[in-house]
């Protein structure tokens, strides 16, 4: 009996925790030389990657009808793009 269903969820969790800790400890974020908008964009992108991992794996959108997955991905793209735009242009 394959235990894939245990392993892949746990791998996703390790990635999620890793990305969370990476952002938490990422020294680049505090460097003066890095423009604030750039580090903010990095945060938004990391959050987007995490949201996508949760949606596709935990919420099982990878095996869902494309329309449903598309709505979720569209939400993610819109939120990431709008937030990034505001960070850079407002």
């Amino acid at each position: 009996m394959r235990h894939v269903l245990i392993r892949s969820d746990t791998v996703v969790w390790v990635l999620l925790v890793g990305l969370t800790l990476l952002v938490w400890t990422e020294p680049l974020l505090t460097l003066e030389a890095v423009p604030a908008a750039a580090s903010a964009t990095f945060l938004v992108l990391m959050a987007a990657v995490k949201v996508r991992l949760i949606g596709l794996h935990f919420m099982e959108l990878r095996t869902a009808p494309l329309a449903l997955r598309g709505l979720f991905e569209a939400w993610l793209v819109v939120v990431a793009v709008v937030l990034t735009s505001i960070l850079w242009f407002l």
């Binding site: 394959r2 269903l5 969820d9 996703v12 969370t20 995490k50 935990f58 919420m59 449903l68 960070l87």
Partner: protein
């Protein structure tokens, strides 16, 4: 024996196939839960945008206030919700793989308890966090940042509490000796709601605590 193509992602291996006997795209849970989830996500998307716009209008206030938040607590809360999502996802996978096996059902019930425990810890952890602010005279009207901080985390906390009730329903279902007919739908619907709560926090955390 597998009756259809192996699915990736959640690694959903179902000996014997599902009830309908078809493989292919599957909506996790009731369609209605997704209407709610996507709608809720749309509302929170507006929250996020409002936050970013307000922040652009008052960057120093936001940077200062954000720095005064307890980032360590926010980090712990993020890890708690991520872990609870893993446990709930694994409970759902277990129940789907062997709905008739008593030891699997009790394992799923235990996983749900673990997930709910993490969610409860999240909620309880809010108390010292909010209290520290209130104690130092900071409230919902202190400035625009704190208005949004208390509003968004408060609304999110209500979602968490509702989610704990949902997990309790799932736990009671898992503890039944015999699976009810719509059990799989129930588990997937409840889990979908809980993962949404996690998704919303995953965005809130960097916005409130890390953006500066």
């Amino acid at each position: 024996m597998l009756t259809g193509p192996q699915r990736e992602g959640s690694g959903d291996v179902r000996p014997g196939g599902d009830e309908v006997g078809t493989a292919g795209p599957h909506v996790p849970g009731e369609a209605g839960i997704w209407v709610f989830v996507l709608g809720d996500m749309a509302v929170f998307a507006l929250f996020f945008v409002v936050f970013a716009v307000e922040r652009a209008a008052a960057p120093e206030v936001f940077a200062q206030s954000s720095a005064a938040l307890d980032g360590g607590r926010g980090l712990v809360n993020t890890l708690l919700l991520l872990t609870s999502s893993l446990l709930v996802a694994r409970a759902g996978s277990a129940i789907r793989a062997a709905p008739g096996d008593p030891s699997t059902r009790s394992r799923a019930a235990a996983l749900l308890v673990g997930g709910a425990a993490c969610g409860t810890a999240f909620a309880l952890h809010k108390i010292p966090e909010y209290w520290a602010k209130v104690e130092s005279g900071i409230g919902v009207n202190t400035n625009e940042f704190y208005t949004l901080y208390f509003l968004y985390t408060g609304i999110h906390l209500v979602h968490v509490l509702i989610g704990l009730a949902v997990l309790t329903v799932l736990w009671r279902a898992a503890r039944r000796a015999v699976a009810r007919p719509n059990e799989r739908r129930l588990f997937e619907s409840g889990a979908t709601y809980w993962h949404m709560v996690d998704v919303l926090w995953v965005v809130l955390f960097p916005l409130l605590y890390l953006l500066g």
